[in-house]
Symmetry: C2
Subunit: 535 residues, 2 copies
């Protein structure tokens, strides 16, 4: 990957591949990083397959997007006062907060995350500011006359750019902390009585005390989101030259592509412009390399177990690695383990380490019997797509919550990677491999996944094309966006109605007491007289 | 139509058409009446086209379903102590309530409707009871081993039958009064701040006072629905032999097919098992009869106007008919008027009366320039499908609300049929015909209608087939069904949290006052002594 220095203010790399964009629309893409970009890349590729022209707008500090590669789409790279490794270190800091040992309290993690999010938002401000104030870049973007902008909210200012370029836009989102973005910017209703706030690791069947916890977390996340986004709101107002906010701008999105579906999610309310396209990256398996196929075939009838903790997390302590390796040695299956750390001493002959594995092709292999995973959504969807039961070793962020979904649906056993012993992992693997209910459950999810009116990738592209064809999709956008929070919750109406009731009651009582007194006065003289007499 | 007497307890008519049902599933259908059945018939036909077997379960008193006709599906007719004309007279009574002149207050209409609904529910109880207590019929239904039950809630006990037969079921609904069924039985969220309660004839852009009205109507309809359905709840409990309710049973529906879409609706929240299939009955136009085509062609470049007030409403007063006819004479277009009343004296040569018209074929004719309609959903969807602007003369039920949707979206001018004068209608027609914005708006809706991932009819059938393939669609059903209303609205949680806060505040104050008094007691003696001295 190439890092561009501060000195060059704008580097525009045109990697025209000779494709003529005579047909189709013109799409501007602001990708996220890491697995977010890997996921969105599938949409980009499909757009290209359908003869649309795609331009990827990416900062010079992108730790993931390799903008020097030969691609079918164009790159538009803008320089920022930041290096890729600096951007990457922020992700590592986030990882470190989650992975602290011993695990601190959730409140501590929350406060640390809020602090780091503040720093990240500051960097976003810088990156966005640099981009939006780059007159040459903005002029170029205007010249290119895009039809739609597609972005991942991981890159915060896609909506701001769309607003400035007056483009309809589509966003691609997995989930936000506490559904804050979906709720507060997208107006998606999430009744706290049965929609668990992520990542509280609860299901849609909550006990009374869980509902209490859910309600508290609902409020806490809303408050935290307001706190964290306040700084960005000022930036949005500053850039647009009028009072605005991130939510107001993001709320103008024509379509929200949500990277899950009801195979994975607990059913909950949605909005007409929320389209669930989970697993859009999943594909039938391709043949494995000769070497890998040979190893897989050597497993005989027992088959294999695929093991990966994802692309971000690199190192286990030797103690943990040994615990895991010795557990893997206790099952008759062969194990394909993606692991680039030092080889554990307890590694058994049935286990082979790989720096990288063709995960989707392995999960789709008929010999694959189970998947040990950290619970990232991309991997989970590959397991659902191919119907492979799981053992979950969730690490951070949404992963514990993701694995809870899989556990609830009967497709996975979940362990704590930091505290489990060899026996726990071996037992979990044996359970998943030998108890047919896990296979049955994941096959049920797989059927649900495949049995949709339209494939997820086709649906994602359909709605991007729809926005291009119709210059937006405002007919799907609820009017709630124009209401303040107290109007949305009818607090003004309730206050008004209560006031009216109070007034009527007051007038009624006053009138009654007036007439009562009048009546009393008429009858009183005698009564009073008698009373006085007695005294 | 044939009416069956009370004496025969069960008449099973098998009109096998020779189709062999070797492929596909086995579908039991309980249709609604009038336009409801006309709409559902399209689903039935498509199911037959896809090699599914369909059995229509219909009472001998059905005023609409002609069960003596030769059809591709089977009929299962059960006798009820009611005649078709008696059933029909109930609809006429409902019509009469709406059409009273001068129009009474909404409260009067509401009370009259509640009274009539009570009578209708009583009849539903009788019809359902007769059906469910018919052992021979129930045995036959069990023998037929259906895969799914499809019903229109106009025939209330479809869900009850599904529960008894242990069948997954799909319901087809246009709308219920105040969204009561969708909200209270289906758990669909309808925030009163921006979802107008039908049929209050408001849009999703409400002023403060409109929101107040909407909130009040929300509560009133909820209350009225509870009142009206209470009687049915007892019946449900009685039949099922356990405490139950209509909402609880209906809430078990796997899929709710809603007969609208976002071309017509104001965007609002939905649930994963709510599928919007508005306009599923719309088809490309077929050629007209020679005589009609000749009349249409005689209109030249001016084109024609299609006019129909639907199939239920038959008679206008001569005064109204004359007002309308003279208005129609003032436009250069030819008019095709579906009208079976006495020919108006003012009828102009450009207008031709027909007892029946091929409405869809006429609306799809290139010469058609406008549509005068009562605003029934089926007709509106044909106008949207073919892109024909409208003049609305809504009569009753959801029609004023439907036309409000069309007016808001800029596709129609709406008049009051009881008070309008000739000039009003002529002006409205001229506006719709000459102001291009009406045509542009309806073409925009038409584009939205046609630009969907899946055609509405295909989607309806897809989800019925899905339910058959997967024996239900419980993964789309929200957990809110298992919560009581106060749990759903978190009232118990809020009460608990407020109690905790109150308790903490109380303890805090008590503790403070305790220490305060203690401190005071320590310092008091001197102070008190001094004070006493002064005294």
């Amino acid at each position: 990957m190439q890092f561009l220095g501060k000195s060059c203010t704008l580097l525009v790399i045109f990697l025209l591949t000779g494709t003529s964009f005579t047909h189709g629309g013109n799409v501007l893409v602001l990708p996220g990083e890491y697995s977010h970009w890997l996921n969105m890349r599938n949409i980009v590729e499909e757009l290209l397959n359908r003869n649309h022209s795609v331009t990827l707008l990416v900062s010079s500090a992108s730790p993931t997007v390799n903008f020097t590669a030969q691609e079918r789409f164009e790159f538009l790279v803008f320089d920022v006062p930041l290096k890729a490794h600096e951007a990457h270190s922020l992700s590592e800091q986030m990882l470190n907060i989650w992975m602290q040992q011993p695990t601190p309290s959730r409140v501590t993690i929350g406060l640390q995350m809020m602090e780091l999010t503040g720093i990240i938002n500051e960097i976003h401000r810088t990156v966005c500011g640099t981009m939006l104030r780059n007159d040459a870049l903005m002029a170029r973007l205007r010249d290119l006359k895009f039809d739609v902008l597609l972005y991942d909210p991981m890159m915060v200012c896609g909506d701001l750019l769309a607003e400035i370029l007056e483009l309809p836009f589509v966003l691609s989102l997995r989930i936000s902390l506490g559904f804050s973005m979906e709720r507060m910017c997208g107006q998606m209703p999430t009744p706290p009585s049965y929609v668990p706030v992520p990542p509280t690791v609860m299901t849609d069947h909550m006990s009374f005390m869980e509902r209490v916890k859910n309600m508290i977390m609902h409020v806490v996340y809303s408050f935290a989101f307001r706190m964290v986004s306040k700084n960005l709101d000022n930036f949005y107002s500053e850039v647009l030259g009028k009072p605005s906010s991130m939510c107001e701008t993001m709320g103008k999105a024509d379509i929200w592509l949500i990277r899950t579906y009801w195979d994975f999610e607990y059913p909950r309310p949605l909005l007409p412009n929320f389209k669930f396209v989970g697993g859009l990256h999943c594909k039938p398996a391709k043949p494995l390399s000769k070497e890998l196929e040979k190893f897989v075939q050597s497993s005989g009838d027992h088959g294999i177990v695929v093991f990966s903790l994802g692309s971000i997390f690199k190192n286990l302590t030797m103690e943990r690695a040994n615990t895991i390796a010795s557990a893997l040695g206790q099952i008759p299956q062969k194990v394909v383990w993606r692991y680039s750390g030092k080889t554990p001493e307890t590694l058994a002959p049935n286990t082979k380490l790989y720096d990288w594995i063709p995960q989707n092709d392995l999960l789709g292999h008929p010999k694959t019997k189970a998947f040990i995973t950290h619970g990232g959504t991309n991997g989970l969807y590959e397991a659902i797509y191919h119907g492979v039961p799981m053992v979950g070793l969730p690490l951070f962020a949404d992963q514990p919550d993701n694995m809870m979904h899989m556990k609830t649906k009967g497709t996975a056993v979940v362990l704590d990677i930091n505290t489990m012993e060899s026996k726990d992992l071996a037992d979990a693997l044996k359970t998943v491999l030998n108890n047919p209910s896990y296979k049955e459950s994941i096959m049920r999810l797989s059927r649900i996944h495949h049995d949709q009116p339209m494939k997820p990738l086709d649906q994602a592209v359909f709605w991007i094309e729809f926005v291009m064809r119709n210059k937006g999709a405002k007919h799907l956008r609820v009017q709630a966006h124009d209401l303040s929070w107290y109007q949305y919750h009818c607090l003004d109406v309730v206050a008004f109605l209560l006031s009216v009731v109070a007034l009527i009651t007051f007038l009624f009582i006053k009138t009654c007491s007036f007439f009562f007194r009048k009546c009393l006065r008429k009858t009183r003289p005698d009564g009073k007289a008698q009373k006085n007499k007695k005294e």
